[in-house]
Symmetry: C2
């Protein structure tokens, strides 16, 4: 019992995704048994260990947006980490039903099966975008009203409400994390991935959406996972909400310059203009992380340091792909 | 043009319901053309005028939870008042998919058709229950985090997020109203309706859910409608949120005593006990109404006065039914 491998397993939805797979590896290192649920729309099987017996790591392909997950995959779990979501905020604006199905309805399907299977604990990854254009920065968890700018943000807010209602109505415990921009070199999406790709296509210039002054807080995936473990562990409230981010912001201009420097410094940075990168973009975002800090967690680096570390990883990955 | 009858019509979803039909009558009095959308699950055709041509009042039966409303019913509208929702908070706890379908998904269906038909203005009735158990009372619109206790509350919060996201992503203007408990004598649901029904069944005693100390703010339907008209009219923000309620609270015990007195004073009031009437109930609720008050609106009566007026209407209705 002491090594945790005989304790009830953890379910991780989106467990083959960028953050999910890092969480799964971390839980496995703690000796936990893990069940991954993923629709593999963007998650990858090779992000997960392939050398473990199903008793340690069970992987179920299922689409939470289409139906409730199989009861067998949920029953007996100590807790569910619900990370599955769409990942491209912009795409949700072009396809208005996307986040409703794969965010809100998926969350409802999962919670309903959790209720039926009597799982008592839910951890939910929400997002800083639920705050919309917050007039208070750093933005604390107590900020309101929550007026998301994007349908992705709307689905995250809807998920928070569902998690809270299920917890209060059916006696579950829930922890909600509002994440800043999470980065690492294994991700195949996000601003750094996009900028590297643009330089591949045209090494002479780097086009950046917006005026470059949009500034957000970036956090490393491993810091995010540790923060969730810290925040999920304690407290007696039925539902609690924590921001997870860095203490500072990095502008898009700074990020572009770091990428150009890393790629040899020859490209000219060109801005498309406008204070937002796209409709629904949040141009300025900085979360207050005082609440989770009081629980003993802090990011291992600044926002700029998280970008630097990720740029270095992306360079190393290009030097030796695969 | 001056009388408004040739101006673009208003769409009212849930327009055959208790608040919706009062809003429709008010808009008609202003000379507006009105299109009602209702699934008639609880709305009643006889709540609406029957002597108007379809050019003044068009009624379309449709279920927003099942599909988008017909484009013809939405196209050309100056604005949509989206009031359609489930109305029994308790039922949503027993049937967990109900508020998802008839709240959240219904709202998404409506907004998507509004976007396609290029309707530029949305008014949405949310609820005080989005605040959950608020630690600040009177609760201002800036309160957070929003942790609803019921699936009904979760669906109202989800609706707020969708309205906000559609407004910001597609250039609409939106006004959101978080309503206290709305009462009038025509309603066939709610605490007064329930207590009258219980006394009919057993005139000797009146069973009250909870310990009777639950205290909420009650607002008359006509005040609610005027508040929405005031709040919807002004301001330049893409999205704005207003509480609508009374300045004070009325306890369940007070309400029960008013009902018993109105019915002859012979019944004994019996409490089932516990600080909540049911799982998901919000035992203490008082909204700050300073924001809408600064726009020039105020309730025409206290919370207790709203109860008194409604009890008198219920008595009168029993004296001459129909």
């Amino acid at each position: 019992m002491a090594d945790g491998t005989t304790a009830a397993p953890a379910v991780v939805t989106g467990g083959a995704g960028a953050i999910g797979s890092a969480l799964v590896r971390r839980l496995l290192r703690d000796g936990r048994r893990v069940r991954v649920l993923d629709n593999f729309s963007s998650g990858r099987r090779d992000a997960l260990p392939s050398d473990l017996p199903a008793s340690r790591l069970a992987i179920t392909a299922c689409d939470l947006g289409a139906a409730e997950p199989p009861a067998d995959a949920v029953r007996g779990a100590a807790e569910i980490w619900h990370l599955a979501a769409t990942r491209d905020v912009r795409r949700g604006t072009l396809e208005p039903g996307l986040d409703l199905t794969h965010g809100t309805i998926a969350t409802a399907h999962l919670l309903e099966q959790a209720r039926r299977c009597d799982v008592r604990r839910i951890v939910y990854t929400s997002s800083s975008v639920v705050y919309g254009l917050a007039s208070v920065q750093p933005t604390p968890e107590t900020y309101g009203p929550l007026l998301p700018q994007s349908l992705y943000g709307a689905s995250k807010l809807a998920g928070e409400g569902l998690v809270s209602a299920y917890a209060h109505s059916y006696g579950l415990t829930a922890r909600i994390f509002r994440l800043a921009n999470i980065v690492d070199g294994r991700m195949d999406h996000g601003i750094l991935h996009d900028l590297f790709g643009k330089l591949d296509a045209d090494p002479s210039q780097l086009e950046v959406l917006g005026d470059g002054r949009q500034a957000k807080s970036y956090l490393r995936t491993e810091d995010c996972v540790e923060g969730m473990l810290v925040g999920a562990a304690g407290g007696s409230a039925p539902v609690d909400v924590f921001n997870l981010g860095a203490d500072d912001r990095t502008s898009v201009r700074e990020i572009a310059e770091k990428v150009v420097a890393a790629r040899g410094g020859r490209a000219r940075v060109v801005f498309t203009g406008g204070e937002r990168g796209w409709a629904g973009d949040i141009p300025q975002q900085l979360l207050s992380i005082e609440k989770i800090r009081r629980r003993g967690w802090a990011p291992s680096t600044t926002s700029g340091g998280a970008i630097d570390r990720t740029v270095a990883e992306l360079l190393a990955r290009r030097a030796s792909p695969g």
